[in-house]
C-alpha cells in the first residue's frame, strides 16, 4: 500500500443553502481508497455521491454549497486545509474527475485537442506548445481516437466518443486518483461496456486508484474491488465486492438487490423498495432509512445508529447488525 496515494475521507459533512432551506447533502461520510484499487460508491440519484467527489477536489459551487466539517487526507495531508493555489496543482494532476454527461462536459468552442493540451500545459509547465500537442494526440490514440481528430470540435463526436475525450483529458497528467462520476450512465449499453473496459485497462496500466460513482450494480460487479453504499448522505454499508454481493446486510442493500429483475426467476411484478428517498432538507430522525424499512423498530426512530463491523472489513450501519458481528450473518 503506497502511502502517497492513500485517500482517506473522514466524517465529511456538506450542506447546501437554497431559498432559506438547508439541504443536508452529505452527513458524516467516511471512505478509504487504497493505491491502485477501485472503490464503487453506489446510491440513488440525490444521495450525495457527486457532492462527495466535488468536495474532494473542492470545486463545489461556493454560494449554495458549504463544507461543514470533516477531513480529506491525500497521502497524509488534509486537502481541506490546503490553500487554493495548492489545490490548483492537485486538480487534473494528482486527482482527476470524469463527469456524468459527456454532451455538456466539453467546451463547444474549442477543439478537443486544445482541451486535452490545456490540462497538459497547466501541469507540465516545462513542455512547449508543440510537445503538449503531441502528448494530447497520444492521449487521443490511447482512448481509441485517431490523432487527426485533434482539430475537431466536440459537436463532431458522438456521445461515447466525447466521453472518451473526457477520459483522455482526465488521464493526461497521469493522476494518482480518478474520480469517475457515473461515467457510463448517459451512454448506450453497448458503448457502456466498451468505455468501462477502456477505463479499467488504463487504470491497471497506470496503477491509478479510482472512485467509481454509479447507481448500476452491474457496473459495480464488473469493476470494483470494494463497494460502499450511500443513502441520504450516509454510508450505510461498505466492504469488499464479495461481502456485499454475497452477504448484503443492510435492509437497503438487500432491497437494492431484490429489486433487480432476475432472468432466472419467474416473477409477475418487480419488487421495488417501498416509499421514496427522503427530502434532504427534511431528513428523518434516527436511522434515515427507517420509514421504508420492514425491519424497523422503536430504536430505529431516534439516536445515532452504530456502525457495526459484521465481518472484518465489512461494515454495516444498522441496529439489526448489533449482535451479528460474532456470527458474521
Amino acid at each position: 500500500m503506497n502511502e502517497k496515494a492513500f485517500l482517506s475521507i473522514n466524517n465529511l459533512t456538506v450542506e447546501y443553502t437554497s431559498n432559506k432551506k438547508v439541504i443536508h447533502a452529505v452527513n458524516g461520510v467516511s471512505l478509504h481508497l487504497n493505491h491502485g484499487e477501485t472503490l464503487g460508491l453506489v446510491g440513488e440519484t440525490g444521495a450525495g455521491k457527486t457532492t462527495i467527489a466535488k468536495s474532494i477536489l473542492r470545486i463545489l459551487p461556493n454560494p449554495p454549497a458549504r463544507i461543514k466539517g470533516g477531513e480529506i487526507f491525500l497521502g497524509g495531508e488534509d486537502l481541506m486545509k490546503k490553500a487554493e493555489k495548492e489545490m490548483l496543482d492537485i486538480r487534473g494532476n494528482k486527482i482527476a474527475m470524469i463527469f456524468q454527461d459527456p454532451m455538456t462536459a466539453l467546451n463547444p468552442l474549442l477543439t478537443v485537442g486544445e482541451q486535452i493540451a490545456e490540462v497538459i500545459s497547466i501541469h507540465e509547465k516545462n513542455l512547449t506548445k508543440d510537445q503538449a500537442e503531441k502528448k494530447a494526440m497520444e492521449m487521443l490514440e490511447m482512448v481509441g481516437i485517431t490523432a487527426e481528430r485533434y482539430i475537431e470540435f466536440p459537436f463532431q463526436f458522438s456521445g461515447g466518443m466525447k466521453q472518451r475525450v473526457v477520459i483522455a483529458m482526465a488521464l493526461a497528467c497521469n493522476p494518482q486518483i480518478l474520480l469517475a462520476d457515473e461515467p457510463t450512465t448517459a451512454l448506450d449499453v453497448t458503448i457502456q461496456a466498451q468505455v468501462l473496459q477502456m477505463i479499467k485497462k488504463l487504470q491497471e496500466k497506470n496503477g491509478t486508484a479510482m472512485l467509481l460513482i454509479t447507481h448500476d450494480l452491474g457496473v459495480v460487479a464488473e469493476t470494483c474491488e470494494n463497494v460502499a453504499v450511500i443513502y441520504a448522505g450516509e454510508i450505510i454499508e461498505s466492504g469488499t465486492r464479495e461481502d456485499l454481493f454475497d452477504h448484503p446486510t443492510h435492509p437497503y442493500t438487500c432491497g437494492l438487490f431484490d429489486s433487480l429483475p432476475k432472468l432466472t426467476v419467474e416473477t409477475k411484478r418487480l419488487s421495488p423498495i417501498s416509499g421514496m428517498t427522503p427530502d434532504p432538507s427534511d431528513l428523518p430522525k434516527g436511522c434515515k432509512f427507517h420509514p421504508r424499512c420492514k425491519y424497523a423498530t422503536e430504536t430505529c426512530t431516534a439516536g445515532e445508529v452504530p456502525n457495526v463491523e459484521v465481518t472484518p472489513g465489512h461494515f454495516c450501519q444498522c441496529w439489526k447488525c448489533v449482535g451479528y458481528e460474532q456470527e458474521g450473518k
Partner: protein, 317 residues
C-alpha cells in the same frame, strides 16, 4: 468561410430588394393621389391626368414596380423629391454620413458599456452590483427614448448650457443624441449579457475546466466569455435594428440632418420618393449590421462555420 460570407451577402441583396418591393407596394396603395398635393385643390381632373401620365403613375402596378426597382438598384436613382424637386439620392448621400456617425457611436457605446455591465452583474450575482445594474437597466429600458432626449436637452443644453441642443458640427453636437439613442440599447444589452453569462457560469464544461486545475480568471477568459458572447453578439445586432428606428426620433428631436429626419420630413409632406429612398437606406444599414453580426458569429462559433464551410467531417453532435 468565404462561401459563407458570399452566401450571406447575396442574402442581404435579396432582403433589400424584398424590402424595396414591400415599401413600394405599401406606398402604392395609399389612398389619394400625389397629384392633388402637387397641383392643389383647384386643379382640374384633366390637368391631374396629364401630370399622372408624365410621372408614369398611370401604368399598371407591375410596370411601375419594375421601373422603380430598376431605377433604384441598377441606376441607383431613387427619383426626385416631389416637394423640393431635388434628386433623392443626392440628398441621401449628403445625409448618410451623419446618420452613420450616430449609428456607429451607438453600437460602440452599446458594446463597450452594456457588455461589461452585464458581466459585472452576472459575476456578482445577487450582490449589490448585480441589483444596482439590473435596477438601472430595467429603468432605462422602460423610459421612452424621446422623453429622455427631451429631458437631456432641457437639463444639459438649456439649463446648464453645457452642450448644444441641435444641429451638427463637432463631436459635442453628437454627445446628447448618442446618449439619448443608446441608453435603451445599453440597458437591454446589459440584461442580455447578464442572463447569457449566468447560463454559462453554471455550465458543465466550466466545472470541467475548474477540475482541470485552471485558475479562476483563466476559466472566465478562455471558457466563460467566448461562450457567453454568442447570444450577446446576436443581441447587439437586434439592438441596432431598434437603434435605427430610434435614430429617426432622435434626429428629429436634435434636428440632426440625417436620413432619419429626411424620412420624417418625407412622411409629413407625403413625399413618397423621399420616404421610399430613406427606408431603403435605413434597411440597408440594418442589413449590413446583421451581415457583420452573422460573420462574427461564424468566426466565433465553429458549429456555424462548419455548417457553411463544408467541414463536416465526423458526426454531427
Amino acid at each position: 468561410m468565404w462561401k459563407y460570407i458570399a452566401n450571406r451577402f447575396l442574402w442581404m441583396i435579396f432582403v433589400l430588394v424584398g424590402t424595396a418591393i414591400v415599401i413600394f407596394t405599401i406606398m402604392f396603395f395609399v389612398p389619394g393621389d400625389i397629384t392633388q398635393t402637387l397641383l392643389g385643390f383647384d386643379a382640374t381632373e384633366a390637368e391631374r391626368e396629364v401630370l399622372r401620365v408624365s410621372l408614369g403613375l398611370d401604368k399598371p402596378y407591375i410596370v411601375q414596380l419594375m421601373r422603380y426597382l430598376y431605377n433604384s438598384f441598377i441606376k441607383l436613382d431613387f427619383g426626385t423629391s416631389y416637394v423640393y424637386n431635388v434628386p433623392v439620392m443626392r440628398e441621401l448621400l449628403a445625409r448618410i454620413p451623419r446618420t452613420l456617425m450616430l449609428g456607429t457611436a451607438c453600437i460602440l457605446v452599446n458594446a463597450l458599456i452594456g457588455i461589461p455591465l452585464g458581466m459585472v452583474a452576472a459575476l456578482n450575482q445577487n450582490k449589490w452590483q448585480d441589483t444596482l445594474c439590473m435596477v438601472l437597466s430595467l429603468l432605462f429600458v422602460s423610459i421612452p427614448q424621446f422623453w429622455l432626449a427631451l429631458q437631456l436637452v432641457d437639463i444639459f443644453a438649456i439649463r446648464l448650457n453645457w452642450l448644444p441642443a441641435f444641429g451638427i458640427g463637432g463631436i459635442k453636437y453628437y454627445i446628447l443624441p448618442v446618449i439619448a439613442a443608446s441608453m435603451a440599447g445599453v440597458a437591454s444589452n446589459a440584461r442580455q449579457t447578464r442572463s447569457s453569462m449566468l447560463e454559462v457560469v453554471r455550465a458543465d464544461f466550466i466545472v470541467t475546466a475548474r477540475a482541470k486545475g485552471l485558475k479562476e480568471n483563466q476559466v472566465v477568459k478562455k471558457h466563460m466569455l467566448p461562450n457567453a458572447l454568442i447570444p450577446v453578439v446576436t443581441g447587439l445586432g437586434v439592438g441596432l435594428g431598434k437603434s435605427i428606428a430610434g435614430s429617426v426620433v432622435v434626429e428629429t428631436i436634435f434636428t440632426i440632418p440625417g436620413v432619419g429626419m429626411y424620412l420624417m420630413t418625407g412622411i409629413n409632406s407625403k413625399d413618397y420618393p423621399v420616404v421610399q429612398g430613406s427606408v431603403i437606406v435605413l434597411a440597408f444599414f440594418s442589413a449590413i449590421v446583421m451581415l457583420l453580426v452573422d460573420i462574427i458569429y461564424a468566426m466565433i462559433d465553429p458549429r456555424i462555420k462548419a455548417q457553411y464551410a463544408g467541414r463536416t467531417r465526423g458526426m454531427r453532435k
